[in-house]
Symmetry: C2
Subunit: 217 residues, 2 copies
């Protein structure tokens, strides 16, 4: 369980805060906009109104005691940089900042942020891989041509076993491997080739992207 | 090989277009800003200056002949909606649009977009899972507590076999499974437990998130 402080309740900071809290972490959110603070009250551990560019404000909230600091201010580059520097001077052990441009990101790295996020670029890149194969719901790249894809069981595979559908065993290094079969909240890892697929199931597959494409085509 | 038309060369549209082109697809990019069009000229198949809310402009560029249409306009909600409706009336088979808010996204879905992207929310959610385990470079969710994680081989596992490091065989459904070991561009699927890990290698692991956390802790 980590103690995370998030500055900035735009779309990125808000979703990040909610998800972290749902995952069981302790989340304190700071924003200077009263409305945004109010709507986060029930979604995180603490939501506090304040100007995060004021060191006294951060110190009063005990920011120096947190494990992770997130600077989720986007458009206001100056504030983003100031808060990042304050986190650094207050010795927050791990700092993540969201960048609005390459130069902004470069600056945040030089300040000493441990990780810089470019939400738009990352989404654009990820979508490119998912479009490559529109049936793929989500994709994790391993190399430039090899990845893990999560997809819904294609209609034509309903009520077929993995073997009948053409999936070979797990030791074949050149074809795709079904690493998981999900049915609701139930997940079978490295399912047996006799496992039957039902409509509504999800498959998690690893292999060359062009081979995965043949499955969904 | 898909034929993709992208309207809007912000950060999302630009990265999407470049990546699709690098993946071998045919990409036409349209933006009304001359500078942005110019800088994309060498990065996609065609980059054209124009106002995409004009049907005549889209028709002249043959938009009705494309496989996938992407509306990558963010801030200008009216233009985003107008272009989406034009894609729909021109029978573009698969339409993706980027949304700036939940209401914007809702509207795009009602218009008939096949997929709506919320880059900031998706990045925030993904980061929450990756922070759960800062050593995880990338994460793909399977259920709310189960996922696929890509991580660098921890220092303490360098020059150990998978078995020595404590990874059990692939048929154990309750523990993590190493589904791939990457060394440079070389990927071994479902590696043998005798496989030795070297510093610089990457592991792709599937399992309960809290178990994956124990590996990197
Ligand atoms: N000095 C500050 N102290 C506290 N909060 C701040 C400060 N400056 C900006 N913020 C807050 O940061 C939040 C996010 O910033 P902003 O809306 O500019 O980014 P954004 O790029 O639009 O965010 P997103 O893309 O995630 O929606 C806003 O809610 C704003 O009130
Ligand atoms: N009617 C239009 N025709 C063509 N291009 C347009 C039109 N309206 C806006 N654009 C272009 O869309 C692009 C992206 O829009 P905008 O910059 O508002 O979105 P954004 O949310 O800032 O993008 P990102 O977050 O991806 O950086 C801009 O380059 C802009 O010139």
């Amino acid at each position: 369980k980590q103690h995370v402080v998030i500055v900035g309740l735009g779309r990125f900071g808000t979703r990040l805060g909610r998800t972290l809290y749902q995952l069981g972490h302790d989340v304190m959110a700071i924003d200077r906009d009263e409305e945004r603070v109010q709507s986060m009250m029930s979604e995180v551990t603490y939501a506090i109104r304040g100007d995060a560019t004021q060191e006294s404000v951060l110190r009063e909230m005990g920011v120096h005691n947190f494990d992770i600091g997130i600077v989720a201010i986007g458009a206001n580059i100056e504030a983003s940089i100031m808060v990042s520097v304050l986190f650094k001077t207050m010795n927050v052990p791990y700092i993540v900042a969201r960048a609005n441009s390459d130069l902004h990101g470069n600056t945040l790295e030089r300040i000493g942020c441990d990780r810089v996020i470019h939400p738009e670029e990352e989404s654009g890149r990820r979508l490119a891989y998912e479009l490559f194969n529109p049936d793929v719901e989500e994709y994790l790249g391993v190399t430039s041509s090899f990845g893990v894809s999560r997809l819904a069981v294609p209609d034509r595979f309903a009520n077929m076993t993995l073997r009948e559908a053409g999936f070979s065993g797990p030791r074949d290094k050149y074809r795709v491997v079904v690493i998981a079969l999900r049915r609701g909240e139930n997940v079978t890892l490295i399912p047996d080739s006799n496992e039957m697929m039902r409509l509504g199931d999800e498959l998690v597959i690893v292999g060359r992207d062009n081979l995965v494409q043949q499955i969904t085509a």
